[in-house]
Amino acid sequence: MSNTTGTLFALKRYAIHDGPSIRTTVFLKGCALACWWCHNPEGIGKDIQLVSSPQRCIACGECIENCTQHALHQSNGDIQRDQDLCTICSECVETCPALVHEATGWETDVNNVMTELLKDKTFFDEDQGGVTFSGGEPLSQPDFLLELLTACGTHGIHRTVDSSGYAARETVQRINSETDLWLLDLKHMDSGQHKKHTGVGNELILGNIQLLSDQDAFMRIRIPLIPGFNAFPNVLDTMARFISTLKNVPAVDILPYHDTAKSKYEKLGLVHTPVPSKRAVLNPTKAIEIFNNYGIPAESGG
C-alpha cells in the first residue's frame, strides 16, 4: 500500500444503494460538473472549507476564544465565519462541544482509507459486496483512485466506480483496468441542454460510455429523472436509442429526483438553483417502459 494522498468528503458503511450487496462508499471530493440537482454540493469544490450549522450553537463562546485568526464572531445570536480570515486550521471544529463547525472534507492517504474499507470485509464477502467510489467525481483524483482500486483488488474486494463519465479517455481506460463495475450517469443527449444544466457538454461522457462498452466493461447506466430537464418521453427516447446501439447494452437505473439538498447549499454559502420544473411529467414506471421498449433492462432506484 502507499501513502498517496487524496481528499474525501464522506465515507459511508452499509451503503446498500450504490451497487450490489453491502458496500462501503467512498466519496472523493471535486467534480467538474455543477448539476442543478446535485445532492452532494459539498463534493463539487476541490478545496476543503469550514462550514457552520448555527442552529446547533449553544453560545458557549469556546470557538471564538480559540480562533487564532479572529475569523469567528457572534452576531444576532448566530455564529458567523469570515471565510477570508479563516485559514482552515480546524481549531473550532476540535473545540466546539456542540458540533457546530465542520470541515467539508479531509485529506487522507491510501493506507488510512484501506484501514476503513477492510473493517467491513466480512460483510462484503457475503454475495458480491464491496467498495463503491463515488463523489464528487472519483475520476477527478485519478492517481489516488487507481491506487485505492488496486489495493482493493489485492484484497479481493469487489470495486464499483460511480462516475459522471466526465474525464479524459486515457483516465477512463486506466481506471477501467482495476474496476469491476461502472455506474455511469447519463443525463441528456443534447449537449446544449447538458451544458446549461450541468456546466459541461456531453461529448466526453458519451465517448467514454462508448469506450467502456466496446471494452466489454461491466456497466450500468444511471439516469437521474429531473423534472423539466430530462423527464420527458422524447428525451428518454433519445437516450434509449443511444444505449441500444452500444456493443454491450447495459442495464439502466432510473433515479427519482428528491429535493432534499437545499439546506446543504445554504450551509456552504452556495446558490441552490431549483430544477426547471417541480412537476414530474414522467414517473419512473413510465420511464422504465421507454427503455424496455428498446430491449434495455431498467429498474427504479439503484
Binding site: 459511508k12 458503511r13 452499509y14 451503503a15 446498500i16 444503494h17 450504490d18 450487496s21 453491502i22 462508499t25 449553544i58 458557549c60 469556546e62 462541544p97 456542540a98 458540533l99 473493517k119 467491513d120 466480512t122 460483510f123 464477502d125 457475503e126 454475495d127 459486496g129 432506484g301
Partner: protein, 785 residues
C-alpha cells in the same frame, strides 16, 4: 388464515387479561388440610393433583386444541405460595393504567378472607425477605441488582423431543424402575429420592387426569352439539384427550395436544420465569407432518390450522401479575414463550423444514403478542429459510428474532455440554441459551453495571440517597490515572456480585426444599435417574445466569472519563459536580462528553477495548462461581426492560446521559451513540467473545424504506450472516419509522395492532408505558443512503 382461526384469533386478541383466584383457593384449601402430612415433594404433587382435579375445565367454541391454565382465556391464576398479593396489590393491578388485570370486588374480598390469612408469613417471598442481610437489602434498594426469584419460581424451561416419543405412562415406568433400584443401604439420599420420585409419579397421574376431564367435557359437548361438523370435532378431541398424554402421540394433532397438556401442567404447578416453551417445535412436528402428508391423513392447510390453534393457546396465557420492583422490570402481558425455528438436528444437519415455514407464516398472519418466534441460522441453514424470515421481519412486528446456531452451540460446548445436547438446545425467554429438555438454566437477576461505576465514583456511596451501599474503594478525586479508577470499579463489581450470589444461593435452597416442581422434573432429562428435583440439581445440566445490563452506558462513561479527565484537562471534581447537578448549567460540558468521546458501537477500538475489559471483568467475577447444585454461574448479557428501571435508579453519567433516563439495552450501543451504521455496530459487538456468555442481545431499528425490495432483503440476509460469521449470538429488528410511533402515541386506539420489539420479545406499542415508548423511539434509526 381460515375462518375458524380468524374467530379464535379475534377472541384471544380481544380478551381482557384477568386474575382468577380459583387456583389460589384450591391451593390454600389443600395446604390448610394437608401440610405436615407428607414430604414436601409429595405435598406439592398432591396439591398439583388437587388443582387438576377441581379446576374449571374450558373448551371454547371452534377450538381444536384444548386446555387453559385459568378458567377461560387470559384468566391468569395467582401463586400465593410464592408471593401472596395483598388487597392493595390487587386493587393496583385492577386500576393501573398500563397492563391492568380485571378482578371483581367479590374476588378481592374472597382473597382477603380465604387466601391472604393463610399465606401471611408463609409465602416464599416473605420467608426470603426475612432472611436477607442488611447490606444486600441496601444494594438491592439502591438498584444495583434485581432478584428474580422473589415473585416467581426459577424458570426457563424448554422441552426436547422426549414427550413426542413417550407417554406419561412410559415416564411412570421409568420412575417405578428407578424406585426399584434405590439403594437404601448405601445411598444416604435414597429416602429423599424416593419421596421425589413418588411425587413425580403422582404428578403424571394428575396431568393424565386433567386431560381426561377434557375428554369427558368434550364428549358431553359432542352429545349436546346439534351441528354435525362440530360434533365430530368434539368426538375427536375426546378421543385424543383419552389417548394422550398417557400414551405417546401418533398423529400431528395428538402431538400438539400432547405438548399443550404438558405445557399447562408445568405452568399450573408453578409460575416459573419465562413460562414454558416447546423449544424446536418444528423439529418435533416434522416427522409427524411428513408421515401423515405421505399417508394422506393430513393436508398442509390442516397442519397450519392446528399449529395456529397452538399459537393462540399460548397467547391466551397472559403473564402472571407482578407488583413492585418486578413489575417495573417487565411491565408486559408477555410471558416469553419463545418458539425456535430452524437450527440443526442432533446429527448436525439443517433442521429447517416445511413445518418451519408454516410456523413463520402463522407468526406473520396472526400478529399476536405470544408466542415469540425466533429463527436459528447456522452456516448450513438454507438461504430460502433466512430469506423467508426476513420477509416476516420486514412487516415490522419485531419477530422473528434471529439467532446464530453455531454460536449458541459454541457457548454450550464451552461449558461442557455434549455436542448433541448443544445442537438440540437453543434459546428461550429473550436470548438465553440452554440445553432444551436437559437443563435448568436459571436467570437470577439483573446487574446494574453503570450503577456500580457510579457507586465507585462516590467511594461506595449511592449519590442519589447518600447511603453507603458498596465498598469504600477510594475517593475518585484521588485517582491519578485510569487504571486506578478501573481497579476500584473491578473491586466494587466483585463485591456486588458476591453479595448477589450469596443471597441467590440461599433462595435456591429455599426453592429446592420448599417448592419443588415434580411434574417439571418428569420431563427434564436425568431428574428421574438422579431422583432429584429440577430445582435441586436433578437435570443433566444446571446453570445460573446473572444478566448484566448497561454495557453501552458503562463503556461510554469510562471512555469519557478516560478521554476527558485522565487524558484531557477536565478535573474529576468538576465532572462529579456536573453529574450531581444533572448537568444543570453545564450544557457545554455535557455536549463535549456526548460528542467528543469515542463511544461503543462505532467499530472504534478506543471505546471497544474498554467494552472488552468490562466484559472480561464481568466474566471473571461471575463465571465459575459455585451455585448450590454442583454447577456454576455464567454471565448473560440481556436487559429485557430492566435498563429502563435501572436508568431510573441512576444519576447523570459521564457519557452525557442525563439522570434517570434509560441505560443502553442488552449489548446494544447507548441510544444515539452509534453513528456508523449497522455493520460498525456489529463489528463492535463482535469484539467481545460472545461464546463466553449465555447470550447477548442486539437491537437494530430500520426504516421500512430500507427493506422495500427483494434485493433489500438479500442485503439484510447478508448483514445477518456477516454478523454471525463474526461470532454474534443474536440480532433483532424493529422496522418502523419514528413518525408512525409518534402517531401511535397520539392515537393509541388506531394502533392497537402495532407490535414492536422491546427486549427479547415483542409487545404492543400502545401497551408500553411512556418511558419504554420513548426508549424505543430513541434507538438509533438505521436509515441509509
Amino acid at each position: 388464515m381460515n375462518e375458524r382461526i380468524k374467530r379464535l384469533r379475534a377472541q384471544s386478541f380481544n380478551a381482557r387479561p384477568a386474575i382468577s383466584i380459583e387456583r389460589a383457593l384450591l391451593e390454600t384449601e389443600f395446604y390448610e388440610q394437608h401440610t405436615g402430612k407428607h414430604s414436601l415433594p409429595v405435598l406439592r404433587a398432591l396439591s398439583f393433583k388437587h388443582i387438576c382435579e377441581h379446576k374449571t375445565i374450558y373448551i371454547g367454541e371452534d377450538e381444536l386444541i384444548v386446555g387453559e391454565r385459568g378458567p377461560y382465556p387470559k384468566a391468569v391464576p395467582t401463586f400465593p405460595e410464592l408471593t401472596c398479593h395483598s388487597v392493595e396489590d390487587l386493587k393496583v393491578l385492577k386500576s393501573r393504567k398500563m397492563t391492568p388485570y380485571d378482578i371483581s370486588d367479590e374476588d378481592i374480598q374472597l382473597y382477603q378472607e380465604k387466601v391472604i390469612p393463610y399465606w401471611t408469613g408463609r409465602s416464599m417471598r416473605e420467608r426470603i425477605f426475612s432472611h436477607v442481610p442488611a447490606n444486600w437489602k441496601a444494594a438491592y434498594e439502591a438498584g444495583l441488582f434485581t432478584e428474580f426469584m422473589e415473585q416467581r419460581a426459577p424458570g426457563h424451561t424448554a422441552l426436547d423431543g422426549s414427550i413426542y416419543g413417550m407417554g406419561l405412562i412410559d415416564f411412570k415406568a421409568r420412575i417405578s424402575d428407578r424406585i426399584q433400584r434405590l439403594d437404601y443401604a448405601n445411598d444416604p439420599l435414597a429416602a429423599d429420592r424416593f419421596e421425589q420420585l413418588q411425587a413425580m409419579d403422582i404428578s403424571c397421574d394428575a396431568t393424565i387426569l386433567f386431560a381426561r376431564r377434557h375428554a369427558k367435557l368434550a364428549e358431553k359437548m359432542a352429545l349436546e352439539s346439534s351441528e354435525q361438523k362440530r360434533k365430530t370435532e368434539l368426538q375427536e378431541i375426546a378421543r385424543i384427550c383419552c389417548h394422550i398424554p398417557e400414551h405417546a402421540p401418533r398423529t400431528f394433532h395428538e402431538a400438539i395436544q400432547m405438548y399443550w397438556f404438558v405445557h399447562l401442567g408445568i405452568i399450573t404447578e408453578l409460575n416459573g420465569w419465562d413460562a414454558m416453551t416447546p423449544g424446536h417445535i418444528d423439529h418435533h412436528l416434522a416427522p409427524f407432518y411428513a408421515r401423515e402428508l405421505e399417508a394422506g391423513s393430513l393436508t398442509r392447510e390442516q397442519a397450519k390450522e392446528l399449529m395456529s390453534c397452538l399459537w393462540i393457546k399460548v397467547n391466551n396465557q397472559t403473564a402472571p401479575p407482578k407488583v413492585g420492583v418486578t413489575a417495573k422490570e417487565s411491565g408486559t402481558y408477555n410471558d416469553f414463550t419463545q418458539i425456535n425455528l430452524g437450527g440443526l438436528y442432533a446429527d448436525g444437519s439443517d433442521a429447517s423444514s416445511e413445518v418451519s415455514h408454516i410456523a413463520l407464516e402463522i407468526s406473520d398472519e396472526l400478529n399476536l403478542l405470544q408466542p415469540q418466534t425466533s429463527v436459528h441460522i447456522s452456516s448450513q441453514t438454507s438461504r430460502d429459510f433466512l430469506k423467508a424470515a426476513t420477509r416476516v421481519i420486514r412487516n415490522g412486528k419485531g419477530y422473528p428474532s434471529v439467532f446464530n446456531s453455531d454460536m449458541v452451540i459454541a457457548e454450550q460446548l464451552r461449558v461442557g455440554k455434549s455436542i448433541t445436547d448443544a445442537r438440540e438446545g437453543g434459546t428461550s425467554g429473550c436470548i438465553e441459551t440452554g440445553a432444551f429438555g436437559k437443563e435448568a438454566y436459571i436467570l437470577t437477576g439483573y446487574l446494574n453495571v453503570p450503577k456500580i461505576l457510579e457507586v465507585t465514583l462516590h467511594n461506595g456511596v449511592d449519590p442519589l440517597t447518600g447511603k453507603q451501599v458498596g465498598l469504600q474503594t477510594g475517593k475518585a478525586t484521588d485517582f491519578t490515572d485510569y487504571t486506578m479508577l478501573y481497579l476500584a470499579f473491578e473491586k466494587q463489581l466483585e463485591h456486588v456480585i458476591n453479595l448477589k450470589i450469596a443471597v441467590n444461593n440461599y433462595i435456591e435452597r429455599m426453592f429446592a426444599k420448599y417448592s419443588p416442581a415434580p411434574f417439571l422434573s418428569v420431563v427434564i432429562q436425568d431428574c428421574i435417574e438422579n431422583g432429584k428435583d429440577y430445582y435441586d440439581g436433578g437435570p443433566r445440566y444446571n446453570t445460573n445466569y446473572i444478566q448484566c445490563c448497561g454495557l453501552g452506558t458503562v463503556t461510554d462513561s469510562l471512555s469519557a472519563i478516560k478521554t476527558h479527565v485522565f487524558e484531557g484537562k477536565l478535573p474529576m471534581a468538576q465532572l462529579l459536580q456536573a453529574l450531581s447537578n444533572n448537568f444543570e448549567n453545564s450544557e457545554a460540558l455535557r455536549l463535549k462528553l456526548a460528542n467528543k468521546t469515542p463511544f461503543y458501537g462505532n467499530d472504534d477500538d478506543r471505546a471497544d477495548d474498554i467494552m472488552k475489559s468490562v466484559y472480561e471483568s464481568l466474566f471473571t467475577s461471575i463465571d465459575g462461581k459455585a451455585n448450590t447444585k454442583g454447577s456454576v454461574y455464567h454471565l448473560n448479557m440481556l436487559s429485557t426492560t430492566c435498563h429502563v428501571y435501572f436508568g431510573k435508579m441512576l444519576g447523570a453519567t459521564p457519557n452525557g446521559r442525563r439522570a434517570f433516563l434509560p441505560e443502553s439495552d442488552g449489548t446494544s450501543p447507548s441510544h444515539g451513540a452509534d453513528l456508523k451504521g449497522p455493520t460498525a455496530v456489529m463489528k463492535s459487538l463482535s469484539k467481545m467473545d460472545q461464546s463466553l456468555s449465555g447470550g447477548t442481545l442486539l437491537n437494530q431499528r430500520f426504516l421500512p424504506s430500507v427493506l422495500k425490495t427483494d434485493q433489500d432483503l438479500d442485503k439484510l440476509c447478508g448483514l445477518i450472516r456477516g454478523y454471525f460469521k463474526l461470532g454474534g449470538h443474536h440480532v433483532q429488528f424493529n422496522v418502523v419509522d419514528t413518525a408512525t410511533l409518534r402517531k401511535a402515541q397520539q392515537d393509541p386506539a388506531s394502533y392497537r395492532n402495532l407490535l414492536v420489539r422491546v427486549a427479547g420479545y415483542s409487545d404492543y406499542f400502545v401497551d408500553l408505558d411512556r418511558d419504554h415508548q420513548e426508549e424505543i423511539i430513541a434507538r438509533t434509526e438505521q436509515a441509509t443512503t
